[in-house]
Amino acid sequence: MGSAISTALRWLRKHAIIIIGLLIIAYIMLPNIVVIIFSFNQPVGRRNGIWHEFSFNAWTHICAPAGMCDAVGLSLGIGVVAALVATVIGTMAAFALVRYRFRGRGTTNLLVFFPMATPEVVMGSSLLTLFIAVGVRSGIATILIAHILFTLSFVVTTVKARVASMDPALEQAAADLYATPSQAFWRVTFPLAAPGIAAGALLAFALSFDDYIVTSFNAGPSTITFPMYIWGAAQKGVPVQVNVIGTIMFLGAIAIVAIAQGIGSRKSKVEA
């Protein structure tokens, strides 16, 4: 009896971190599972908070709520453009910051860090103050400016970490083998940095697509992004279709990463 308990305790002790880890994963997944389940709900009234009846209705009529699909389209567009611009200029900056020593490098690093250390509400309001002072109307352009700004720092830090972990000797080897600087960059440096750049771009897109606070300060009356649409709808009851979009984005993200993972592991197998 005593030995059974002590065996059980020993087993628990040995596997504690795994049990705790799995519990936390379950906690992280819980709201997402609720979102998925309630995308099949047919609620009574406008509030999709209490389970009533199973239905594919929201899945077959995704764009039924007025303006929702336009909002999703706008958010996707803004996310792609913001991520693209932030990734290009952020990657350039990351290379400069890791590979070169110059005066003002510390200040530049600090300047890159500051937007991450600024609450969204401060960033949104200061940009709005500028736009008002200059007399710029809020709209897609102002949203893009804001989104590129707050995603830029995340791209720079992500790519910087990757570039810093790369061995400069590989590029020297390329140069020794008579590669031109551009050949060395595109055939050696860039492929090595690519996972970091891709992670930065994905993070930038996710942050942009997810953002409500900064956007609410810099959006015009006709530029309703998806988070703004949800916020507006939350007052009177969010349509079930919002859960459908959430589910699609969630599963889509997992699929993208799984595919990227597959490509990565096949590549490493080939190289091995």
Partner: protein, 303 residues
């Protein structure tokens, strides 16, 4: 997944190169963006906070420091509340995030990448949708509410003032839970990159030298994780202070945070000077706290 956030990786010695031309060209677009859309707006904000007037008559710069005293005397409770909520949320996020990061880095085996994806994937289900889902989970008479009531947890939370009306929704408890949940990935990712590089043999060595689990954690694991802890706590605490989505969706009028006040003063009352003053105070407090914190933690490699 090569996610790495500030402080995650010690810099390798970069090669010293001559000439400023190439780095200048590479940095130019990012610098232009940061200067024109971050530095200049911050100056505009500081200037706005010292102006008087109204949206209809126009604003004049008058060194109106009275805006600050007015803003703080009216809204000091929301300001203090925001810092208390964000600090409590950060402590709990660290407590949840650390074992998770350790589990992913050292115990998840070949499922490592899948688990990492599960941690990041909620990013893609919208922040607002997730928070609304918590509304469904914590609803009165729901499973969670019933279990917490039956086990006396609600009673305890009521006693310490976190659930004032016996209803989980609309309580500080729900708001802090929302903050913990929503910012957990920002804690876990930098922690993971730090923790992942801790060599298992250090722990064996500690055990060989008769260190118990407690000592091994505080003398070996914790110091080596510090860069990740600092980066993670900053990336959780800072956005949490300014957040008002959780307070709005999961709280009530008594849980309003300063972000909401700034938003209403700016976008509803069009009282730009007061809103700018509050915004600027928030920024200054955070900068002071962050510098003190980074210095105390001794992780100069943060940026």
């Amino acid at each position: 997944m090569a996610f790495a956030l500030p402080g995650a990786r010690p810099r390798k010695s970069a090669k010293r190169r001559r000439g400023l031309f190439v780095p200048a060209i590479l940095l130019l677009p990012a610098l232009i963006w940061l200067v024109f859309f971050f530095v200049v707006p911050t100056i505009a904000l500081a200037s706005q906070s010292l102006q008087t007037g109204s949206i209809y008559q126009g604003f004049q710069f008058t060194w109106a420091f009275s805006n600050y005293t007015e803003a703080l005397s009216t809204y000091w409770s929301q300001m203090v509340r925001s810092f208390i909520y964000a600090a409590s949320a950060t402590v709990f996020t660290l407590a949840i995030g650390f074992p998770l990061a350790w589990f992913i880095a050292h115990r998840s085996g070949r499922f490592k990448n899948i688990v990492l994806v599960l941690v990041v994937a909620p990013f893609f289900t919208n922040f607002l949708i997730r928070t609304l889902a918590w509304q469904t989970i914590l609803v009165d008479g729901g499973f969670v509410a019933n279990v917490m009531k039956a086990t006396g947890i609600t009673g305890f939370l009521n006693w310490i003032g976190l659930v004032p009306n016996d209803s989980l929704l609309g309580s500080p408890f729900a708001v802090i839970c929302g903050l913990i949940y929503n910012f957990l990935p920002f804690m876990v990712l930098p922690l993971y990159t730090s923790v992942e590089r801790i060599d298992q043999r250090y722990l064996d060595a500690a055990a060989d030298l008769y260190s118990n689990g407690w000592n091994t954690f505080w003398k070996v694991i914790w110091p080596l994780s510090l860069p990740g802890v600092v980066a993670g706590t900053l990336l959780t605490f800072i956005p949490a202070v300014g957040d008002y989505i959780n307070a709005k969706i999961l709280g009530n009028a008594n849980t309003t945070m300063v972000g909401k006040v700034i938003e209403s003063e700016f976008l509803v009352n069009l009282n730009y000077p007061i809103a700018a003053a509050l915004s600027f105070v928030l920024m200054i407090i955070i900068i002071v706290m962050v510098s003190a914190y980074v210095r105390a933690a001794g992780t100069e490699e943060l940026v």
